[in-house]
Amino acid sequence: RWYATEASASTSGLRLSFVLPHQTIYKGVEVQQVNIAATSGDMGILASHVPSIEQLRPGVVEVIENANATKKFFGEYTNKLGTNYLVSGGFAIINPNSSLDINAVEAFPLEDFSPEAIRANLAEAQRTATSGSSEEERNIAKVEVEVLESLQSALGSK
């Protein structure tokens, strides 16, 4: 019987590339852990994760750079260690060489959002989703509702 060998202390760590079409948030930066909201569920990615391809659903991507972060992030919406980004959609790819590539369409730090604006937009979107004039308009509003609701819960829980 073999005992599982201890995972080799990877000197490489988890290398994150978090890129958007108009902005490069991280490129090849070594981080400790990344929590993503995937269509198959929420997951936390550490170094030497099994390679996989995950589609992101609208939600929060949290990047924890250093386990012993002495940096303090001001603002109530950040976890004590990580930076939270609201992501509208995209893909996260974990490669065999312990690198995580996140291609997202849009991502903004959570602290940039105001709860009042979210509430107002959410009410408007819900209204359009039920009583919109065309099928396409209603579908677009439904996607908007999904994004705003996840944003609201992310802000509420932090």
């Binding site: 890129v19 079409p21 108009h22 490069t24 390679p51 996989s52 391809i53 893909f91 590539d101 291609n103």
Partner: protein, 289 residues
């Protein structure tokens, strides 16, 4: 025997000489000088505009390059190879505007070469200039064409719209290659390709089994990769075009400047010749008295 005489006195080559034609010559030179001067002003301002657009386009391109190359890293890591018998879709990235050097020819030549290797490929052209060039030789392969490309720095929304239209047309392909101009530096570019693979080709990749993937995600990944690669091609193509336009306009301004110098010299020489001949007339007339 007939002496071969030039039909029209060329104002720039014939300086001193036909005195009876001097006034007409001087007028011609003046007219030409005026027009070349205004052309020089136009090309100079076009160069300024192109260089400001270029710096902006370059910034967008750097970010787009990071974005696009992160996407295609998946295909490298998964060791995806194009299938031999598979159908290919060629997406040629160009623009509608002219006066930008050899941008359109470079991309058209590369596309034509790919079509020669795989004669039943389908072609989607982005930009009227490349469409005109490709229509001359491979018109039958062109499936779709887009215009209004290149007016401003490309946005991801545009790329998504293009990808959406291509997918809605139900164009079947095993792999797609995006032919664009890779921005090497401010003064040079080169035609290059970005690969995009369909779900079936991707699932046959060498290293595919290493990845844990849910099946319904693959189609979305394919569409996402297509839009991302189109965006990357558009951004680089735009940056290369602005850089090439800048250097083309700079050369044009320099050449116009040289023409102005030569014409001014010719004009002055002609003017002095007229004055000299008038003086001679006066003096001979005076000495005859």
């Amino acid at each position: 025997m007939f002496a071969i005489r030039p039909v029209v006195a060329n104002a720039t080559t014939r300086s001193v000489g036909c005195q009876h034609r001097n006034y007409a010559t001087l007028k011609e030179i003046q007219l030409r000088l005026k027009s070349v001067r205004s052309i020089a002003k136009i090309t100079k301002s076009m160069k300024m505009i192109a260089s400001t657009k270029m710096t902006r386009a370059q910034k967008t391109m750097e970010i787009a390059r990071t974005f696009g190359s992160t996407q295609t890293a998946l295909f490298t890591n998964a060791d995806t190879k194009p299938t031999e018998e598979g159908t290919t879709l060629i997406i040629t990235v160009s623009s509608d505007r002219g006066l930008c050097g050899g941008i359109h020819s470079s991309v058209s030549k590369a596309s034509r070469k790919h079509v020669q290797e795989k004669p039943n490929s389908q072609v989607v052209v982005l930009g009227d200039k490349a469409k005109a060039q490709l229509s001359r030789t491979i018109r039958n392969n062109i499936r779709l064409s887009f215009n209004q490309i290149g007016k401003a720095t490309p946005t991801y929304t545009e790329a998504c719209a293009i990808a959406d239209t291509i997918l809605n047309e139900k164009i079947e392909f095993d792999q797609a290659i995006i032919v664009y101009n890779y921005f090497k530096s401010v003064i040079s570019y080169e035609a290059d390709t970005i690969p995009v693979f369909s779900e079936s080709t991707f699932s046959k990749s060498g290293n595919f089994d290493a990845y844990e993937v849910e099946d319904d995600v693959l189609e979305n990944l394919h569409e996402f990769a297509l839009a991302n690669s189109i965006y990357w091609g558009l951004a680089e193509g735009h940056a290369s075009e602005m850089a090439s336009k800048r250097s083309a306009m700079e050369n044009a301004t320099k050449n116009a400047g040289e023409m102005i110098d030569k014409l001014t010299l010719t004009y002055n020489r002609g003017r002095q010749a007229v004055i000299t001949s008038e003086l001679i007339d006066i003096i001979t007339g005076a000495s005859a008295i």
